[in-house]
Structure formats: structure tokens, C-alpha cells
Amino acid sequence: MSETYIEETTEAAARVASRLRIDRREFMQFCAATATTLGLSTGAEAAIAKAVEKAKRPSVIWLHFQECTGCSESLLRAEHPTLEKLILDVISLDYHETLMAAAGHQAEAARKAAMKANKGKYILVVEGAIPTKQNGIYCKVGGQTAIDMLKECAADAAAVIAIGSCASWGGMPSTIPSISGADSSPTGSSGVADVLGKPVVTIPGCPPNPYNFLATAVHFLTFGKLPDIDQLGRPKFAYGRIIHEHCERRAHFDAGRFALEFGDEGHRKGYCLYKLGCKGPETYANCSTIGFGDVGESNWPVACGHPCIGCTEKGIGFTKPIHATAQLRGMSPPASYPGIVEQQGKTSFASAAALAAIAGAAAGGAAMLAKNLGKQDETQAQKKGE
């Protein structure tokens, strides 16, 4: 990296810092943290910083359909930096039903204006599932069905990101247990990819970790493309591994120490929650490594004592009963478990008897020898006497 490059980056960072009213160090920390979350190599934070400092902020249109706004709420809880401090300044959030000041027709007009002005360049973020039954009449915004609005917005978008499990595959609305035994939900809730008929980037989770979304968005800003994804559209940097692999309670699983019910001794001691139905062994996500709520790695469901419900995984979250045991993926339990209760010592009567016999024999031998030596002493004394 040349010196002028470093200087440029430093200057750029200073400009962003003054624009965002945060200090330069805090801004660089955000860039470095994002680069780390993405698993990028050294130097990437500088590239990120350069991308973020651009005066022209990319336009973002954020749609809400069948959802609870939990994903937006989760994003609002991101503190490194806070959403209003950075993301609202880095991106131009032109349409977001919860956060925007505009209402009614004014809001829809803003969306259309943004779409027109940034044709082919804006990022479309979708939160919530899209009902498909009955031509999608179960969810309308401004008189327009969710299906129509999604298709309209997606047509000219540079990238589409589905945030949350609902937008990813249908999530909770799609898995309401139906009385008739049929699989689908009453409204035919579907994910973005199904409706558009093409793969999109998905950030599943209920809610997803805000940093997985931020990192994906920043990756797009920095490199002009979305990060590597798996066959389900999930970024590999965040969903490449099973939760169980990096779980802090994994050692208990391997040692066969399980909590058997809430509040029992094992539960209080922090044992593995597998037998309480933890879905960590069959769910792909990075919850066990980055945690939630910016209070350290130990803040996530399993660390709090509740089994993982598998919210990021289609067919597991909202589908399998919470306390049904998980299917173990890519691992088998050890053939034998080390003992939990160690034997504290045992007495051996055979060795005690042997020891006594040896001691007796040695004492006897020594006494006999001493006696003979005594006799020799006497004869010698007698000789001297003579």
C-alpha cells in the first residue's frame, strides 16, 4: 500500500467523520469490524472506508410486507455505529415505511421518484413474506398488492436483498400449522426469490443479526457486487457453518453433559441444550460467534439458556417443535463418554496385605540380623576381655 494511498484514505476518513459527526477512530473501527465480519483480507477496511466516504450515497428502497418489523428493529439496535449515525448517511434511505417521515401518497411518490432518479442503481431490501394466494390480496400497500409492488421495484434494482426469514423463504407466515394438514399457509406466503423467479441474496433469521445485513450492504458498496452466497442465497461469510461447530457449550455436548429440563442442575451449570431441543446442530448461522445486541459474544439464545429454534433454517425454524431434538448434521456423538464422576480413590486389600507381609518380613530379617550381629559383638568383647 503506497503512502499517498494511506494519506488519501486518512483524509477521506476524516471527511466522513466530520460529515457523520463521529470521530475518525470510530469510523475506522466500523470499517475494520465490517471487514472482519465479512472475513476479508487486510487492507479491505481501507477500501471500505474509501467507498463509504463517497459523497454520492446509494439509494435504498426498503419494502415491508407480511412481517413484524423485527428486522428493522434489529438493525436499529446496531451500535457500531448506530443506524442513524452511519447507515442513514452512508446510504440514502428513500423509502422505509417505519422510518420515513412522509405518509400516505407522499410516501409512495417518494418511492417512485427515487426509482426513477436511480434507475438501475438502487438497492432493494425486502422485509416480510409475500402472500401469493388469491392474487396476493392479503397484503396491500397504497392499494397495490405486495406481489405487484415487489415486481415493480425489483425490475430496475441493482441488487435485491431479502432480509429476515419471511422474505427469505416465507418464514413464520408460511409455516402456520394448518388444521387440514396441508403444508402451506392460508395466504400462500412466499419468499422473494420464489416470487421473482430468480435467486436473490437472503439474510435469514428472526430477526437476523444486523451486522450480517450491514456487512452485505457494505460489501456491495465497496466492491460493486454482493458477497459469495450458497445455494439458498445466504452469504457464506455468515451462514457457511453450523451453529453447533462454534458453540460455547460444544465441549459439554462432546462430554455428554446435557441440561435435561429448564432449571435443573445441568441447565444452571450451563450444560449443552441439545436435549432441550437446541437446533444448533442443524442450523447454519454465525450466532455463536458474533452474538447479538453488541454486548459481547455471550449474548445469544443459547448463551442465555434457551435452545436455538433454528430460525435461519427453512424446514426447521417455525416448522419443527421447539423442544424436538435436532438431527445431527455432519457429526456423530463419540463412541464413549468420559466419566463425569471421578473415582476418588480405592483401597486394595491385596496390596495392603502384601505391604504388611513385606514390612513384617523386612522387620523380622532386620531383627534376626541385628541379633546375630549382637552375638558377634559379644564374642569380640569377650576376646578383648581375654
Binding site: 480413590g345 486394595s348 496390596s351 541379633k371 546375630n372 558377634q376
Partner: protein, 385 residues
């Protein structure tokens, strides 16, 4: 210094006897158990547990075994440092006993290592933890074993007629003899330092803090003298030779005053630390403490007069008691007085015991073989002194 009138000669005679056969059987049993232990692990053979990771293989084979093997050290100290040439005939046999004692103590450490195949790590710069007392003990004992083989090598060289090598070695021998005095002073005190590290886990009666190295060093010297008397008496009766009492009597005098100094040190240390009260509690520790102290105090009474020290039987009994005392001090420190927490206990298994017995048997067997075939014991006793 060597008196040519009674220069050492091979004893000769048949190696096979009922005694050597018995010893051979015992050593073979230990060998079989050890093979089993190396294949199936410590848990399959010993009664060791998480509370007592060290059993008799360390407490006896290493700590006591090396202390009982201090005859060579004590005699070298006396003959070469304090220049008491009259004890020279006792040096070689004492050195031989020490040689086996130490070599087997060193080898025994491997028996007790969970991952015994990694034993060489302690000598490898990248692995060694140079701030550890264990490292000091391990390196020092290993070095001393090598030094002792060199110290003893004149006996082999004489037998094999390698005069040239012997002459060259003689010029360098003073250096190895000096090392042979320095090294045991270091590691015998370090064996006490191990207990310093155990700290509060040791019963107050043996928790002597920084005096522990001194206590272990002094008793090691004391044991060295006692073992020389014991072993000289045994080999005289066993090989039907004349008793060496005339040489042993002045040695016993030195031993007696060392003993007096030790008992004074031990009692003053316990009283000064305010631990004496625990000796009167109704505990096993207190009981074994009194047994240990009795072993040291009884010889202090019975060997008080010069006359008593001329009696072969009193000398022998005194030496045996002192060996027992040194044995008890170490067993008490490492096992009886080791309090690792509620519920933990340890008593050696029969297999563990058989290994220890087998090692002792092997030591005696090798001693008998070497004194019969190599020049170790003085050729003839002087008619009068």
C-alpha cells in the same frame, strides 16, 4: 588416596543362588506389569486418581529411591571434599548402590508419565519449561546419572584392562567428582522445593516453606551415611566377609552429629511456625509424624556413646531406623500429609507395589552381579586397625 593393600577386587563366586532366583522372579513380574502399563495406561495398573496424580512410583521410586541412593554422594562429600581418605574403601560400593538407585529413579519417572512416549520433551529446548522445579529435578538427576556412570567407570575400565583410557579419565575425574557432589545437592533440595509449590495442600507438620529444601538435603546426606552402614553390614554378612565396623564407627560419629543437627532443626522449625499443636490432634497425619520422629530420635539415643557406635548390631539398627525415618518423611510429605480435598484417597494397588518391589529386586540383583564380576569391594580386610 587409595590404599593399595586393600584395593578393590572382583568377589567372584556363582551368581546363581536361591536369593538371586527370587529377585529375578520379582523383577520379571514388575517387567510384565510395566509392559501392560505402557500399553493400557496408568489407570489399568495403578490406583492413581485426579486427586492423587502421584503415587508410590514417584514418592518411593523417585523421591525416596534417589534419597536412599545418596550413599555415593555422602561418601564423595566426605572423602573428596572433607578429605577423609580412610573411608575410601567404602566409596566404590556406595557409588555402585547409588548408581542403580539413581538410574532406576530416573527411569521410574517414565513409568509415571501418562504420555510416556513424550518423555524426551523435557530435554528438548523448544519443549522444556525452564522455570519449573520439575525441570531442574529432571535435568539435574539425568546429569547426575551420567556423571555417576563416569565416576564409577574406573571399575569397568580396570576389569576390561583399558589402562590408557583409565589414565586419561583419572586426570579429568576430579571434575566429575565435583559435579557428583554439586548435582545431588541441587536436586535433593529441589525435591523438597516440590512440596513448597504444593503449598497449602500439605499438612502443617510438613509445610516447612523455604526450610523444606534444607530438610530434604540434610536428610538425604543422613540417609547416604545410613545406607552406607546398612549396605556394608549386609554385604559383609551376605558375602560372608569380615565386618567393616572399624571404618563404620567413625562414620557413624559424623552421621550422629548430622542427625542431632537435623532433629534440632526440624523441631525448632515446627515450633517456630506454630504447627506443633497439629501433632497432638487425633489424626493419621499426627500418628505418622510421631512414627517418623521416633525413627530419627531413637538412633539419637541409642548411638549416643562411642561404645554404642562400636557395636555392629546397634549401628545396623540405627541405620535401618534412619532409613525408615527418611522414608517416612518423604511418604508423609508426598502422600500422607498431602491433602488435596474432601473425599480423595490413595492406596497403591498390588500391581503398583509389585513394580516398586521389582525395581528394588532388580537393583539388588545388579549389585550382586557387579560386585562378583567387577572390582568394587575391597580385596581383604586388614587384620586389625
Amino acid at each position: 588416596m587409595a590404599n593399595h593393600a586393600h584395593a578393590p577386587r572382583p568377589l567372584g563366586g556363582s551368581f546363581l543362588s536361591p536369593l538371586t532366583l527370587l529377585l529375578g522372579v520379582l523383577a520379571a513380574i514388575a517387567g510384565v506389569i510395566l509392559v501392560y502399563r505402557f500399553i493400557y495406561g496408568l489407570g489399568a495398573v495403578t490406583n492413581l486418581n485426579d486427586g492423587y496424580p502421584w503415587g508410590i512410583w514417584i514418592a518411593y521410586d523417585v523421591v525416596i529411591g534417589s534419597a536412599l541412593a545418596c550413599g555415593g554422594y555422602s561418601m564423595a562429600l566426605l572423602v573428596y571434599i572433607f578429605n577423609k581418605g580412610q573411608y575410601h574403601p567404602l566409596v566404590r560400593p556406595a557409588l555402585l548402590a547409588s548408581l542403580f538407585g539413581y538410574t532406576l529413579a530416573g527411569v521410574s519417572v517414565i513409568f509415571d508419565l501418562g504420555r510416556w512416549w513424550n518423555f524426551w520433551h523435557i530435554f528438548w529446548p523448544g519443549y522444556a519449561q525452564v522455570n519449573s522445579v520439575m525441570f531442574e529435578v529432571a535435568v539435574c538427576i539425568s546429569a547426575y546419572i551420567v556423571v555417576m556412570w563416569i565416576e564409577f567407570s574406573p571399575a569397568f575400565l580396570e576389569k576390561w584392562g583399558m589402562k590408557d583410557v583409565r589414565q586419561k579419565l583419572n586426570k579429568l575425574l576430579f571434575f566429575f567428582i565435583a559435579l557428583g557432589v554439586l548435582l545431588p545437592s541441587m536436586h535433593q533440595s529441589s525435591l523438597g522445593s516440590l512440596l513448597v509449590i504444593f503449598g497449602e495442600q500439605i499438612h502443617p507438620l510438613w509445610r516447612s516453606g523455604m526450610m523444606l529444601p534444607v530438610i530434604y538435603l540434610v536428610t538425604a546426606i543422613l540417609l547416604g551415611f545410613a545406607v552406607v552402614i546398612f549396605e556394608a553390614t549386609l554385604s559383609s554378612t551376605g558375602f560372608k566377609r569380615q565386618l567393616e565396623t572399624p571404618v563404620l564407627t567413625p562414620l557413624a560419629r559424623i552421621m550422629y552429629w548430622t542427625l542431632a543437627a537435623y532433629v534440632a532443626l526440624r523441631v525448632i522449625e515446627i515450633v517456630a511456625r506454630g504447627a506443633l499443636g497439629t501433632a497432638f490432634a487425633a489424626t493419621w497425619q499426627a500418628f505418622w509424624f510421631w512414627v517418623e520422629m521416633a525413627c530419627f530420635v531413637v538412633p539419637l539415643v541409642t548411638l549416643a556413646s562411642e561404645n554404642a557406635r562400636r557395636s555392629a548390631s546397634k549401628l545396623f539398627v540405627g541405620a535401618v531406623l534412619l532409613m525408615l525415618g527418611g522414608f517416612m518423611l518423604r511418604v508423609n510429605g508426598f502422600l500422607v500429609g498431602y491433602m488435596t480435598g474432601e473425599g480423595w484417597s490413595y492406596f497403591p494397588s498390588l500391581a503398583e507395589l509389585m513394580v516398586t518391589i521389582g525395581i528394588i529386586a532388580f537393583e539388588i540383583l545388579a549389585y550382586i552381579y557387579i560386585v562378583r564380576n567387577y572390582p568394587v569391594l575391597p580385596a581383604a580386610q586388614p587384620a586389625s586397625r
